[in-house]
């Protein structure tokens, strides 16, 4: 049996090795010695390393494919608009890293320097790190179990030469498992500002997101707020809006109200985002480009068929709104 005894008090608890259920457990001696409870020395090292990182934000969602990476990219770009703000984007989705593609950095490699791995810089003030930069081919599958993924996350936090950073954005895989626990545990001593939770409007997504919020409560990670992505689709031909992912239970708004967490904003669905990914142009969205024109428009048929990119503009506005609230929440005194 690999399963731990039913009433295992946990290796970190005071009862470790001493509880009634520890009798006969092969690890009883080890637990009783307290060796299991000793914190990983990496936590202290990471704390030391993170001294130069002012704010740490986790982007989470219980559900997959709701736009965690897209929003992380938006957020990184949005924050990096200000030249004086140093932004770092860390992708800890070990098995499905999407950040390199979204940022238009596919095929880039990480360099080793005296002070550790150097992130890949998209702009002078925007550094990116992902397991995708360590793979030799885009087809390479990272078939790793938990402990190996945790090791990688530890390395990302401890061994990457992040330098002076104002915001570290951590993009995560879906779920509430190894990667999430590790990120929270390794960063525990360094203080995480909190988590931004991404959802889509439909209940199938919200039910997973409620679990994610319950995870945040369990691990005592503050929830900065919720962003609703893919909030509605406007037909490029007739301009009428359809809810592709209908908010049958009231969407993120009702959930946020019920769980008493702030809603940072709603970002509409825009087909052009997908087009731009496919063009490998990366998602270099400029939040300040208020002319409302999409650079892809004159060139690509799909884009040309539609009116000037009002939707892309609304993605910008919505993101900018969310960004404003997010900054507001981070910077307000606790």
């Amino acid at each position: 049996m690999e399963e731990v005894p039913h009433d295992c008090p946990g290796v970190g608890s005071a009862q470790a090795g001493r509880g009634a259920s520890c009798q006969g457990c092969p690890n009883q001696g080890l637990c009783a010695s307290g060796a299991g409870a000793a914190p990983d020395p990496a936590i202290e090292e990471i704390k030391e390393k993170m001294k130069t990182v002012k704010h740490k934000i986790l982007v989470l969602s219980g559900k997959g494919g709701v736009g965690k990476s897209t929003f992380s990219a938006h957020l990184a770009h949005g924050l990096a608009e200000d030249e004086n703000t140093q932004v770092a984007l860390l992708d800890i989705d070990i098995c499905g890293p999407s950040i390199p593609k979204i940022m238009g950095l596919e095929g880039e490699q990480v360099h080793q320097s005296g002070s550790g791995w150097s992130p890949v810089f998209l702009e002078d003030n925007l550094g990116v790190m992902s397991v995708g930069f360590l793979l030799s081919s885009p087809d390479d599958a990272v078939i790793w179990r938990g402990p190996k993924k945790n090791g990688m996350i530890k390395q990302f936090l401890r061994d990457v030469d992040w330098g002076e950073v104002d915001y570290l954005i951590v993009d995560t895989p879906p779920g509430t498992s190894d990667e999430h626990l590790s990120a929270v545990q390794y960063l525990a001593a360094a203080h995480i500002d909190g988590a931004v939770i991404i959802t889509t409007p439909q209940e199938v997504s919200l039910q997973d997101v409620r679990k994610e919020i319950s995870f945040c409560h369990k691990v005592k990670l503050p929830v900065i707020g919720v962003v609703e992505n893919m909030s509605g689709f406007i037909c490029p031909k007739c301009q009428k809006e359809t809810q592709i992912f209908p908010p049958t239970t009231g969407g993120a708004e009702v959930m946020c109200h019920d769980l008493k967490v702030p809603l940072l904003g709603k970002v509409p669905l825009d087909p052009r985002i997908g087009i731009r990914f496919r063009l490998k142009a990366g998602y270099r969205i400029s939040l300040e480009d208020s002319r409302g024109r999409c650079p892809a428009c004159p060139v690509y048929r799909e884009a040309r068929r539609s009116p000037p990119c009002t939707r892309l503009l609304s993605v910008r506005v919505a993101t900018k709104d969310s960004l404003f609230w997010l900054k507001h929440r981070i910077h307000q005194p606790p």
Binding site: I143, S177, Q207, K211, K237
Partner: protein, 271 residues
């Protein structure tokens, strides 16, 4: 191979199909559910095993959330979705006390539960067992492939959406299948196009053609594209008359075509 001599609770299961995708939210659970319904429509008895432990969605899609799993002599009794008991379902969702509770488990604990799901669920006689997985190529996938290996599954259905980000993750999933020796039945492209209910204009919300290109690139069959259907999403959300209403959805023809291809597969898998 020792386990093959003692098939246990999977003895009455004729074919096992895994539904995989490297990417999350592409519709693995939706496709699993739809496929089960389409196979049921073809007169088959179907079981669904939901091994997405951190985010089980199928109970809600089939509107059986809150139902309890009972114990019998031969193990856990799966939850029956319809009166005729032609679709049965097992999910971690049935084992949670509160629906919003997070399953905060690391790998080894997830592996143990998956083993239990494979060995201890009394499926009875089934034509098809559809195994729905979480996104990625990690613990759950290795556990499920390892524990099902003695029962020689028919293969894997790999789900993608058309856009490049998803296709990239799915390429990795195909590599995973190759590495663990799991046959790929084919690629299914979900959320292909969206027909505006107001003007019938078809927009490729998540761009187009990625699935087919991927299948060609990887040398595996392309089984078909399933269009985005807000009505279907809605009925999946509400579980409302889903089983009866399903044949009217624009996704149904695509799905029954895919189901037919899988039905045609079956004899090959047996030999």
């Amino acid at each position: 191979m020792e386990a093959a001599a003692e098939p246990g609770n999977l003895a009455g299961v004729r074919h096992i199909i895994l539904v995989l995708s490297g990417k999350g939210g592409v519709g693995k659970s939706t496709i699993s559910t739809e496929l089960a319904l389409a196979l049921r429509h073809a007169g088959k008895k179907v079981g669904i095993l939901d091994v997405d432990l951190c985010g089980p969605s199928i109970p809600r899609m089939l509107q059986v959330q809150g139902k309890a799993v009972h114990q019998c002599d031969s193990g856990w009794v799966p939850v029956f979705v319809d009166q005729e008991q032609s679709i049965s379902l097992m999910s971690v969702g049935f084992l949670l006390e509160k629906p919003d509770e997070a399953v905060v488990w690391r790998g080894p604990k997830k592996n143990a539960l998956i083993k239990q799901f494979v060995s201890d669920v009394a499926w009875g006689q089934l034509d098809y067992l559809v195994v729905d997985t979480p996104p990625g190529t990690s613990d759950e996938h290795m556990a499920v492939v390892d524990t099902l290996r003695p029962y020689s599954p028919l293969g894997a259905l790999v789900v993608t959406t058309p856009q490049a980000v998803s296709v990239g993750d799915v390429r990795r999933e195909l590599t995973f299948c190759k590495k663990v020796g799991l046959r790929v039945i084919g690629v299914v492209e979900n959320m292909s196009g969206f027909v505006c209910p107001h003007c019938a204009e078809c927009t490729n919300v998540f761009s187009r053609g990625g699935g087919e290109e991927l299948a060609r690139h990887a040398g595996v069959p392309f089984l078909g594209s399933v269009p985005l259907d807000p009505e279907l999403t809605r009925s999946l959300e509400e579980g409302r008359d889903f089983i009866r209403g399903f044949p009217e959805s624009p996704a149904f023809p695509a799905l029954s075509c895919i189901a037919q291809k899988i039905l045609n597969e079956a004899p090959v898998g047996l030999s």
